[in-house]
């Protein structure tokens, strides 16, 4: 596998440890996919309205909307999925009416384990299989902003768990077809997002193992919020060996900037803290390389008070460059 193979499958399920920027990475993936000419659908499954906030649109619901040329979005919830499922398979309007706001949803979300996830994934499969009138698939790329790594295995295992509980009947065949989709390397890639920090790296390595044990195919690793290295080797050496606060003051003074010892000390410490962050990043990069056989795509640190469209675009630029350029790193 190669980093350029990012869009090799039509379904990308994006996950990562909480706080690593999984949703923004998913949004950037969808945007990069759209730019490459793919009719793209971005799917939210946890009903948090993260995406509508990121893209500053009206709140999303169960009906997909085109909010950018070629880019569609929807927010799946289990209740709407259940109603659609009943309508589709039974044409049962009467049942749907009974279901909405009734105990059946309690049943789906509380009593029957995993059914909720099966319903969510069921809707994803409907999008993945949907065809246009001319017979081609309706979407060339579907990006799912999935639950975080702490819950992803349970989420993906839900269809299989259901087949273990339910021996016969339409639920079983539905669940089986979902498991087939998720485990097919030609149809679905799991997309892990991480940071170059100790705990996210550890959790990413563990999750990649658990996902592979499950039979899933893990796509190129997205490394988010990578700090640029500001000092080359000479600069680093100067900072650590030669630029004690008095030296720093002298250099600044010669350039016309008078600072006191406290300021020089604070400035130097800022530089040293940056070096130690960079060192940690390097160490984590090595750790990933040693424990995870995956191509990686690094995304730059982009700070914004509200992580909106322009910032996602910066990330999409990087992804686009990595996937449309020549193959290889």
């Amino acid at each position: 596998m190669d980093a350029a193979d990012l869009f090799e499958t039509r379904l990308l399920v994006v996950t990562g440890k909480g706080g690593v920027g999984k949703s923004t990475a998913a949004a950037a993936l969808a945007l990069a996919g759209t730019r490459s000419g793919r009719r793209t659908c971005l799917v939210e499954v946890e009903g948090r309205q993260t995406m509508s906030r990121l893209f500053q649109t009206e709140p999303w619901d169960f009906t997909e909307r085109q909010f950018r040329p070629g880019l569609h979005g929807l927010s799946i919830d289990p209740e709407a999925s259940l109603v659609e499922y009943l309508d589709m398979f039974y044409g049962a309007k009467r049942i749907s009416k009974l279901v909405v706001g009734s105990t059946a949803v309690e049943f789906a979300t509380t009593a029957a384990p995993g059914i909720k996830d099966v319903l969510l994934i069921g809707k994803v499969k409907e999008l993945e299989r949907r065809r246009k009138a001319d017979g081609r698939f309706a979407f060339d790329l579907i990006v799912v902003d999935a639950p975080p790594t702490g819950r992803i295995v349970k989420f993906l295992r839900a269809p299989e768990a259901t087949t273990e509980l339910v021996n016969v009947g339409p639920i079983r065949s539905q669940a089986q077809s979902l498991a087939d989709m998720l485990l097919d390397p030609a149809r679905t890639h799991l997309q892990l997002v991480t940071l170059l920090e100790e705990m996210p790296v550890t959790e990413t390595v563990e999750s990649a193992g658990a996902l592979r044990d499950l039979g899933c195919t893990v796509g190129p690793l997205l490394v988010n919020r990578v700090l640029p290295e500001r000092f080359d080797d000479l600069g680093r050496k100067a900072l650590t060996d030669d630029l004690e606060p008095p030296d720093l003051r002298k250099v600044l003074g010669k350039a016309g900037l008078e600072v006191d010892v406290d300021a020089a000390t604070a400035l130097r410490e800022l530089g040293l803290a940056h070096l130690s962050q960079v060192d940690l990043q390097r160490q984590m990069r090595e750790e990933l390389a040693a424990n995870l056989d995956l191509p990686t795509i690094e995304l730059p640190y982009v700070y914004a008070e509200h992580f909106l469209d322009p910032e996602i675009r910066v990330l999409a630029d990087v992804l686009e460059a990595r996937t449309t350029g020549s193959k290889g790193r």
Binding site: V20, L165, V166, E197, L234, R236, L267, Y303
Partner: protein, 384 residues
């Protein structure tokens, strides 16, 4: 609330730490969205309490085993384990399945019934995937630790829920579910015999059951009904304990510490949680914002960024040492901007709420992975 007053509230909150909380609270609940350093914060507070000579336990529910890492332990199971290097501190990781087993064993009418429940094919699935089970089990464990009375201080790290509020809602959801008409449907006689259609009378239940069994396949609902019925006699206990824990969390013996990072989404969640705690009458000890950017800007405050950048451009023409200094100046300017942005984000996200104590923990170089790092963090948390 006026902007001025809101700023004053935050300024006052910044002067308070969590020292009193770790010295006096019997239960400390750390909550917040995922990835903000909740587990690490819980561990640091627990160490601080233990250092004061209080017998302390820290309980984590996180399946990613982060606390284990923070404490340098390989794994934690459902038993309290002493933390190496900290006198009087135990750590424990909640094992969902085992806690559920223990609840069944303790509360079933007899061991035969307990075994019957644990043998049911729904049980294994249910015991770790039922919505809200993690939160509910955390409550059960908290109740047990509290009634056992072995610890002066119990610090708990809430599950990585989709929404931090789930933790507060778990007891109520459990009791709602137990009282719900859905469950009563299953408790109706006749269900176990597998004669689903038309038997459970009233409120369209027959139609619902018919539909449900068409979807799940025959037999499944019967098994599920048997499963729920085997719990009979235990429901009141579930309910009583859930209510007891809720009351404990509302009492002045408890303290909630909300944890966030300086990002908008995490702060927004923290804000909701602070408001919710206030409306539920639950005691808030403070808000911890982890990983706040620090800068040399204060020290360089006399010089505007434009001046620093002009000097940097000039130094770029020099030797490697001068170029390094130029880069340092740009680093300082960028860090200064980041600090300003973060402070604006914090102020605007918290507008109108009173976190009581507001502790901003600077981005420590490197992750906190050992007791020493936790002690360093604890010092920040206590002294504001």
């Amino acid at each position: 609330m006026s902007k001025k007053r809101s700023t004053d509230v935050l300024a006052a909150a910044r002067t308070r730490g969590l020292k009193d909380t770790v010295a006096t609270a019997h239960v400390i609940v750390c909550t917040g969205s995922g990835g903000v350093g909740k587990t690490t914060t819980a561990a640091a507070l627990a160490i601080a309490a233990a250092r004061l000579g209080r017998s302390t336990i820290v309980l984590t529910i996180d399946p990613a085993r982060r606390l284990a890492q923070s404490l340098g332990l390989r794994s934690l199971d459902n038993t309290p384990r002493p933390v190496k290097g900290v006198e009087g501190l135990d750590a424990m990781m909640l094992d969902m399945k085992r806690t559920f087993d223990e609840v069944i064993d303790r509360n079933a009418a007899d061991s035969q019934r307990a075994e019957r429940i644990k043998d049911n094919r729904f049980y294994v699935q249910l015991s770790d995937s039922l919505a809200g089970t993690q939160e509910y089990m955390a409550m059960e464990k908290l109740h047990q630790l509290h009634t056992d009375g072995l610890y002066d201080c119990i610090v708990i790290d809430t599950p990585p829920t989709r929404n931090a509020l789930d933790f507060l809602d778990a007891p109520k959801r459990m009791t709602d579910f137990l009282e719900g008409r859905f469950l009563r449907l299953f408790m109706a006689p006749g269900m176990v015999a597998g004669k689903l259609a038309g038997r459970a009378a009233g409120f369209g239940a027959g139609l619902f059951m018919k539909a449900a069994s068409r979807i799940t396949g025959a037999g499944v609902l019967g098994d599920l009904a048997e499963f729920f019925q085997s719990f009979e006699g235990m429901y009141d206990g579930f309910k009583t304990r859930a209510q007891a824990v809720y009351a404990l969390l509302q009492s002045p013996e408890s303290a909630f510490v909300v944890v966030a990072s300086p990002e908008t989404s995490a702060l927004r969640e923290a804000r909701y949680f602070l408001q919710r705690l206030a409306s539920e009458g639950m005691p808030t000890a403070g808000l911890v914002v982890n990983r706040v950017t620090t800068s040399a800007e204060d020290a360089l405050g006399d010089h505007p960024p434009q001046e620093l950048l002009a000097v940097a451009t000039h130094l770029d023409e020099g030797d490697s040492e001068q170029r390094a200094v130029a880069e340092l100046l740009r680093l300082a300017v960028d860090a200064g901007e980041a600090v300003n942005r973060e402070q604006r984000t914090i102020a605007s996200s918290l507008h109108g709420v009173d976190p009581r104590a507001l502790i901003e923990v600077p981005l420590l170089s490197g992750d906190v992975t050992d007791v020493e790092g936790l002690e360093r963090l604890a010092r920040y948390l206590l002294t504001a």
